[in-house]
Symmetry: C2
Subunit: 331 residues, 2 copies
């Protein structure tokens, strides 16, 4: 069936609501929901609250109140059928008198799946909307692979350098790109750097807007065996793991679903060689250095057959710079 | 004054007409013109014909016929006031009874300038439209610098490699990007490569769509002192110059205004170090090699203060690849 326009509009509002809570819901997915009354008017919108809080459907139902009776729910992910810290959303939708449910993504999590089936058995009309929800992709991939989704982020010149030969690098990209990085950090569960970066750059790994911290900060994670002495990380607190597998295992177990590797070149190369890079964010400055320090510290010679190809998922200009976002093929 | 909507629409048609003849007009600029009748309806459109043929205004007037009387002309470049192989366009507009002229770019060429003044003195209402015409940029820059406008083109991975360590490189970018390159070649006056590329790759330097040649082919130019033996270039014909300055001087004198340097890394680095690169076309594949042959063969170490910065003028996705177009700052 063709999606009715009021359902498409409700889905757009649900997606927007989900995008607003991205980064606040792990280990749960950032879901959005909209409720239409029996006449097709949007009467409630909601999104997943932090862990332990209500899910999107419950928020949207609360927003709609009695107008949900006989109405329609549009959700970015199949309503859960699982009693965890909150009751199942499929039951909540049924109890509110919802007669039709549209959802955009099947729940891949065995313990929570079955919501669509439950509702159909209760006589609710259930429709699947074949639409990709980018906000959900890291969570879906994490649940499938049983480790956090890994995004590798780097900033470089057009010729692939993160710094000049002498190590100087501030700043390759401009203010708009740097502001975008910080907003993005505030949406991630953790930021991971190697000991090389931690020792050389004394990073804070905070998410800032100007001089102010975003309300939500990612976990600060260092990978490698060298000791990190006094500095910003010691001051702010951080976790350290000997290698990437240990870090990803611990972060997964502690509820992280969406983590960012910010470098440097040795850690980035190690993550690629371990094949744990699911997404790449390449901030490319329209500049050339000619020679310098590569974004990847690669230990061996290459042939073109070894090229690591990704799929371009989004391209945007950030003032003078370009952000190219990619994902693993078939993700 | 605010540009009236019928003038904006006429300008859009003039720009589109100019874009169609890009690459066929050197040493003249690719100009477009539109004629509106006295009621404001577009009654004629035209663009510059190959050298010796009519200019855009004359083509548009011919298209409009008697309906030009009492009408308006909209031109992407100030009408010329110069009798060369053709008569001055300002005179032609006046003779056709045009009462208003809008033009988007002043003529920077001393011998041809003065068209706006001539028309104003004849009592024609003349308006300048403050709009950048990208199609004209290479020609304007060439006339200003008295050498052809130089666009440096390269295709690379995200980490700045044009080939793997062992030299293998086919293909880094995909079919859509390669097709775009060929269409673009058909719009350039010359394609320049170094002797290294000529000897290693046996290139044809032709502009092809599938197996067919575009009707218009750029000049094939090799820079460097090594002899080019039997191969595609010998078969198709080419010019050779010992260095970039000699090549640009000769090409300028022979009427080239818009040339493309396609590599390899030694020639690209030399052009950047001579500061003759006006535009860059970077075709970036969403792929990483880790190690390989850089797009630039740079002879020395660098510090961040030596970074060569450009301005991003356009970004587009070509299937899975990204084309970033840049220009010299302030161009």
């Amino acid at each position: 069936m063709t999606t009715p326009p009021e359902i498409a509009e409700a889905l757009a509002q649900a997606i927007a609501a989900a995008a607003e809570v991205r980064g606040t819901t792990s280990p749960n997915p950032a879901v959005g929901a909209a409720i239409l009354d029996s006449a097709g008017a949007i009467v409630g919108v909601g999104a997943t609250q932090p862990p332990g809080g209500p899910h999107a459907e419950v928020m949207a139902l609360a927003d709609a109140g009695a107008r949900a009776q006989g109405g329609t729910a549009v959700v970015t992910l199949e309503p859960c059928n699982h009693t965890g810290r909150t009751g199942p959303c499929s039951q909540a939708l049924f109890d509110a008198g919802i007669q039709r449910v549209f959802y955009a993504q099947a729940d891949p999590f065995p313990a929570a799946a079955g919501g669509a089936e439950f509702l159909a058995l209760k006589g609710v009309e259930v429709h699947f909307l074949d639409v990709k929800i980018p906000t959900l992709q890291p969570w879906l991939n994490a649940v499938k692979s049983e480790r956090p989704n890994v995004t590798l982020k780097f900033a470089s010149t057009l010729d692939g350098f993160a710094a000049a030969t002498d190590g100087s690098s501030q700043w390759i990209t401009g203010a708009a790109a740097r502001a975008f990085v910080h907003e993005d950090r505030s949406r991630r569960d953790a930021i991971i750097v190697g000991t090389g970066t931690a020792l050389a750059d004394n990073p804070s790994l905070t998410a800032r807007s100007g001089d102010r911290l975003y309300p939500r900060q990612p976990r600060r994670v260092v990978v490698g065996k060298r000791e990190i002495g006094a500095g910003n990380l010691q001051r702010l607190g951080f976790e350290q793991y000997p290698g990437i597998p240990e870090a990803l295992k611990a972060l997964w177990e502690e509820g992280c679903r969406d983590v960012l590797i910010e470098g440097g070149p040795t850690l980035a190369a190690a993550a690629l060689r371990m094949d744990v890079v699911d997404n790449i964010q390449a901030y490319v400055a329209p500049a050339l250095l000619g020679a310098g320090r590569s974004i990847l510290n690669w230990p061996q010679e290459t042939s073109i057959s070894e090229i690591m190809r990704f799929e371009t998922s989004a391209v945007q200009q950030l003032d003078n710079d370009v952000l190219i976002e990619m994902q693993r093929k078939g993700l």
